[in-house]
Symmetry: C2
Subunit: 344 residues, 2 copies
């Protein structure tokens, strides 16, 4: 059963550049930078034992990739959004592109490669546990470059989110956004009410790889996945927040989500807030649950909600997602949370 | 290291219809009836733990399916052969058809379906153990029918092998072969040296399903896989041979192969012969090892080799196969066995 959010309270994140309770209803796009891939999803009764031969219950192809999934969630929650990444023209392009269009996600600035294989994940979903086991392959599709990123018109966006990959180039892209913020930040943000707002930068760090640590100092909002936290030697969310804060920007917001343990976050002033997980009656499909949490929390933060409200929203929407197959219909399934209480 | 076969001795299987030491070098085709599918092969360092996210070492597409693999092996050993089954025109047809052609396997009598999905197996191969874990899906491709089978010109073949599936129709097909044998069996086979030889029928029973038991009484040569043997309550090869003999034709040859335990077989007179497994220095890829054993043993038997020589050949060729990725080059790798001693 879903928990209630009646007891939620929290403070407005006015320390995040460009975000505040006064956020206008005419929002710029949320830009999510990272990977789009094809997920070949194989639903089995139970996760197979090594060296056996089992039969699928069902198979489906689904657009996947973290930043791509973030957009799927943001769009369904009502945020105009854009995916930026590289795409293969050689394989499955129409499957991926048609699905972006079906979810009203802008891909106008994506970079296409003719002769490269499409990144692909085989995903085994267990009907018994809802677990998703991912075997990813990416043979030769190049990563996004700084030059690709330079072509963007930054004034279109209200938030820029990076998936933690392609570290060196992503750092250069963030430097470019910071430069843009320095040169276009409004007098309003300086107290005079004119021009643009500064673009907040969020980064999701999930993969347990050492180079990901280099991304920590660059974000206004950090999403730290359980795998990376454990890789850093942390055994719980509380430790994760403390550990990551040592290397993060002084004013950074740090969010740690640990699946069925819910999420915990540390605000710019060190205040820690928490949300339980909201488990559905039956867990069906946990593929993209972390991406859903992240997308929904960004939605909350970018609309000026408090840090606590935002992570609760993330956990609630992720809880709804894991109770359904894929992402189709998430918008309708979330209606009672988004509009039922009139809070968002 | 490969074991030697110098100590091999065995008796000619003159009880199998159409087979004897006098087999002519102008052999009819071996027909293998069953499934061709596309194997999407994902090589990983170690088999993934449930609910983790791992990266492939490599990915490849390969034509698979038991009967299809049997043909790959038979053809490389030098036997003219034909695959008979249904194929999807909707997906991956050229991948499958081109590969059949590359291995010189006749598919002239295959049945094509326009709007059905191609059967597909996701195969996870562990570099650490060489294990192959198969997740198979077959959404809606129809099985071969008796009417499809009726169109064959039986006089082209020297052996008919059935993969254990589609049980009811396969039994009808075998009845048709038996009818053909009754009506076309040569005076030679009756002792007068004219006309056709009777067509031997082999069946591979691998899948642990109750309906497979209905196939047991229909074969001249039975290949009983470990999974089916265990499903029948057998704990070793010796028990398997005794158990299956209770329901098999009185003169049937029964072959039981148990991977790294090698193979054991029971001839028409109850004599039991055995072969060890021939493990390569490093096991790389066990996908299709059972199909390789089966194809190579059929090759031996159909060329009039003894039961013992045939199962030793099966184990040797399967041992070579698991030491390499896929099937390409199996012919060259087997040269020293096939022609080195001049025995075959």
């Amino acid at each position: 059963m879903m928990s209630s959010i009646h007891d939620v309270c929290g403070s407005v994140l006015s320390h995040i550049p460009g975000v505040g309770s006064s956020a206008s209803p005419e929002h710029g796009k949320v830009l999510c930078v990272g990977l789009a891939c094809l997920d070949s999803i194989h639903v089995v009764k139970t996760f197979p034992v090594e060296d056996t031969d089992v039969r699928c219950v069902s198979v489906r192809l689904q657009r996947g990739g973290n930043a791509s999934n973030n957009c799927t969630v943001l769009s369904q929650l009502g945020a105009p959004c854009e995916f930026l990444g590289t795409l293969s023209k050689k394989q499955y392009l129409s499957v991926v592109v048609d699905d972006f269009k079906a979810y009203n996600i802008c891909i106008n600035n994506c970079i296409y490669y003719e002769a490269c294989d499409a990144p692909m994940s085989v995903v085994i979903i267990s009907q018994t546990t809802g677990s998703r086991t991912i075997i990813h392959s990416n043979k030769n599709l190049p990563e996004l470059t700084l030059d690709d990123f330079k072509k963007l018109d930054m004034s279109q966006y209200s938030w820029i989110h990076f998936e933690g990959r392609n570290v060196e180039e992503v750092v250069s892209m963030i430097e470019l956004v910071e430069f843009w913020n320095e040169n276009h930040i409004s007098e309003h943000d300086r107290g005079h009410g004119l021009g643009h707002k500064a673009l907040p930068i969020s980064i999701e760090i999930e993969k347990p790889r050492a180079e990901m640590q280099d991304l920590i100092p660059w974000a206004d909002v950090l999403f730290i996945g359980k795998d990376f936290a454990e890789f850093c030697g942390c055994t719980n969310m509380s430790e994760t927040l403390k550990k990551i804060a040592q290397d993060a920007k002084p004013n950074a917001t740090i969010i740690s989500a640990w699946g069925e343990q819910g999420a915990m976050a540390r605000g710019h002033d060190g205040t820690v807030v928490q949300s339980p997980a909201f488990c559905p009656h039956k867990v069906l499909d946990t593929l993209g649950a972390g991406d859903t949490f992240c997308g929904a929390a960004i939605f909350g933060l970018s609309r000026g909600k408090s840090l606590q409200d935002s992570i609760i929203l993330g956990c609630q929407i992720a809880g709804i997602k894991v109770g359904m197959d894929g992402f189709a219909g998430l918008d309708k399934a979330c209606n009672h949370i988004m509009y039922g209480s009139g809070e968002l």
